[in-house]
Amino acid sequence: MSRQFDRRTFLRRGAAGAAALAVGPGLLAACSTDEPGSGRKPGPGSSPRSGGTLRAAFVGGGASETLDFFNGPSALDLVRARAWHGTLGNLDPSGPDGVRYGVLKGIDLSADLSTYTLHVRPGVRFTDGSELTSADILHSLSVLAGKSMLPVYRLAAANFDLARAKADGDLKVVLPTLRPIADGRMILCQGNFLVVKDGTKTFRKGMPSCGPFRLTEFTAGQGSAFERFDDHYGNVPHLDGLELRSIADSTARAGALTSGEIDFAHDLSPVTARTLADDAKVRLVPTKSPYLVGLSFQMNMSVEPFDDPRVREAFKLAVDREAMVKTVFYGDAEIGNDLPSMGFPDYAESLPQRAHDPARARELLKEAGADGMKVRLTTGPETPGMVEMATLFVEDLKKAGVQASVRELPAGQLYADFATYAALPLAGSYQMPIPALSTYQMSTAGGSPSAFGWKESETDTLVARARAESDRSKAKQLGTQAQRTRWEEGNQVLPVFKPNLNAQAEGVSGIRDDLFEQFPGFSQASLA
């Protein structure tokens, strides 16, 4: 709200608007429906049609949007960067190492799991014609990602000794680990690690890049435009151009899609997605496992009575997972098993699915002397479905004899003061899709504040051993054992994994082929 009264922002926006007017065809022309080049002629046969400009809409981040994706908090910042820059690699369950490499040819690791060697793919060119070398990767990884405060990038610093990383010739980067790990490929090739030229300090239009598209326009909070980069190292895109727009409201994104203003709408609310279900011109394309967001509730073990494992189990048994999936997501979500990272190779899928058993929950609470306990669940609308889930959870808890209530904070306040958040007795939360064990080490091990009082050095050791095990089946066994403890005694209720409910115009294809679906890439997309 107060942003509207900020004179400087107002002036800046006015200037940006004037700039957009001066630029002429581009962002503004994109608003007309009959834009030439976004053609809707049916493509011949089944092979993807070349040409056209795909227009996609995202929530965006208003004036805080930035080209510096290492520090850009909104999803759109990363989506824009994925179109613009080359990537180390993406997770790909069908790939040889569980990943699909981008600007790399491959990653080798030493027998003692203490050194990773990144082999650069030869012949990768930037838009200025120069060739990508190990120096560019080293700069992006150890200087830019190493300094970033975003959790995904901190994951790199938490596992690799970035200060001791060095280039070995033009085509090799040697990356020592902090402790032996066998799953480093999964960390480096999550899709987040994008490569810019050595020495890059600021991010601006016209800087050299090696992604599938070249940025031609950018206005924070409004949109960006791209054209195809014909010397792209991988598959050259089918599209001539790409436009990424910021449309904050879910209903407005859906409206733009049904009226033909855009071809792809990102992250619709479940209700909005439902209203599109019967529209023949539009297809819902929810992200698939493992690109699912876990919606969870954290019980604080340093607050009574959550120090009692029986109470924690009762809360997990009380939740009606199926009802949540059906009611909040109209069936378009997966049932969770109180463990994060479902669908990743290190996820313990062999554990039994926890049942919905309010009677047993009641018994357990009685045994623990906590029947009739009062608890307030604090949550906020940080991602679609979060408040609705909390509302249903409280009703479930009431059925198990808990006097539960919800406290809903305004958007953006839940995590604003993290110390306060981590002291809440019962709090809503969500987990972005990242591998299970490295996530545990980063946010749950060693009594970290985000662990809500969980302090089990045995489990920590087990996870560390699993990650340092080069024998895959042995690693899996150790990892499962650690996750079983979390499943049995842990303080997280994770009833639902929800997809990003994306929708696209009929005939658009190839977006899923770009992997890393929650931040869609368009390098292989084509229009109808």
Binding site: M1, S250, T251, S269, V271, T272, R274, T275, A323, K326, T327, V328, Y330, P381, V387, E388, A390, T391, L392, V394, E395, S405, V406, R407, E408, L409, P410, Q413
Partner: protein, 285 residues
């Protein structure tokens, strides 16, 4: 401001008052009473718990759920019946607080010296410049989930106008001949306030409060729509509209029912306040 019985109004020829405007506001009064009673007593009549998930979301109305189900599969009828109480009580509390503040500040400003009175009104004006919604948003964001914050915000947003109106009303009385006579006779200021000023501004105060109530209802409903105040599952007509509007194409009753009730409530209270103003205006003539 038009509610202040000015000398102009008193001099208006009687022929302008058509018979229909003389009719006591029976119909409007009954309508208001009905909606307010519906809001206050509705929770007792709700067939189901307003917070329990009972069926699939956005079910069409049928024998079991008279108005269908809402975004989370809860009974719309029960939620509509339960959702008015918060709005009416919050608006009433906010108006009462604003009335009390406005009355005291207005009369004080009138009784004080001209310069001090002007200064007080300028301070109040500074508050009146802030958009009402901004005050509500700031307070509600500062105290998330607090109904009291909404009441305070509503009071803060409406009190400045009451202050101005009531100061003007008190001023008219204070400059009248009988007050001057009373003061000359040696009556204390307190006695003048009790016997001359308060009884004479009671009419305008009542009308002003009724008008503020309309504004308070709007603000309270807006706060609910924006998800401020009591959060979570608690039913609230304003909040119900915003919860269910995204599914408008799936089911209309979940957002139409609370929206219609809000319209009905504010129209009735608004009309009643208008009639009241007319009646009091005539009475003062």
């Amino acid at each position: 401001m038009t509610t202040v019985p000015t000398s102009q109004r008193r001099e208006r020829p009687a022929a302008h008052r058509t018979p229909s405007r003389r009719r006591p506001p029976l119909l409007v009064g009954a309508g208001t009473l009905l909606v307010v009673l519906f809001a206050l007593l509705g929770p007792l009549a709700a067939p189901y718990s307003p917070t329990a998930r009972l069926a699939a979301p956005f079910q069409q109305p049928d024998g079991q759920f008279l108005l269908g189900t809402d975004v989370l599969g809860r009974d719309v009828a029960s939620r509509v019946l339960s959702g008015g109480r918060t709005i009416v009580l919050t608006a009433l509390a906010g108006t009462a607080a604003a009335g009390a503040v406005g009355m005291s500040a207005g009369v004080l400003a009138a009784m004080a010296s001209r310069r001090l009175g002007d200064l007080m009104v300028r301070c109040v004006d500074a508050l009146a410049v802030l958009p009402a919604l901004l005050i509500v948003l700031v307070l509600a964001a500062g105290f998330p989930g607090s109904g009291t914050a909404v009441v305070a915000a509503v009071a803060l947003a409406t009190a400045p106008f009451s202050t101005r109106v009531l100061r003007a009303a008190a001023d008219t009385v204070l400059t009248s001949g009988y007050v001057e006579a009373a003061l000359a006779r040696g009556d204390t200021r307190w006695a003048v306030l009790r016997h001359d000023v308060l009884p004479n501004i009671a009419g305008p105060a009542l009308v002003d409060t009724a008008l503020r109530l309309v504004a308070s209802l709007h603000l309270t409903a807006t706060a609910g729509f924006l998800g401020l105040g009591q959060g979570g599952a608690a039913p609230d007509w304003g909040r119900m509209v915003s919860e269910n509007v995204p599914g408008a194409t799936l089911a209309a009753t979940p957002f139409l029912a609370p929206a219609m009730l809000l319209v009905l409530l504010s129209v009735c209270v608004g009309l009643l306040a208008g009639r009241l103003a007319d009646t009091v205006g005539r009475g003062a003539a």
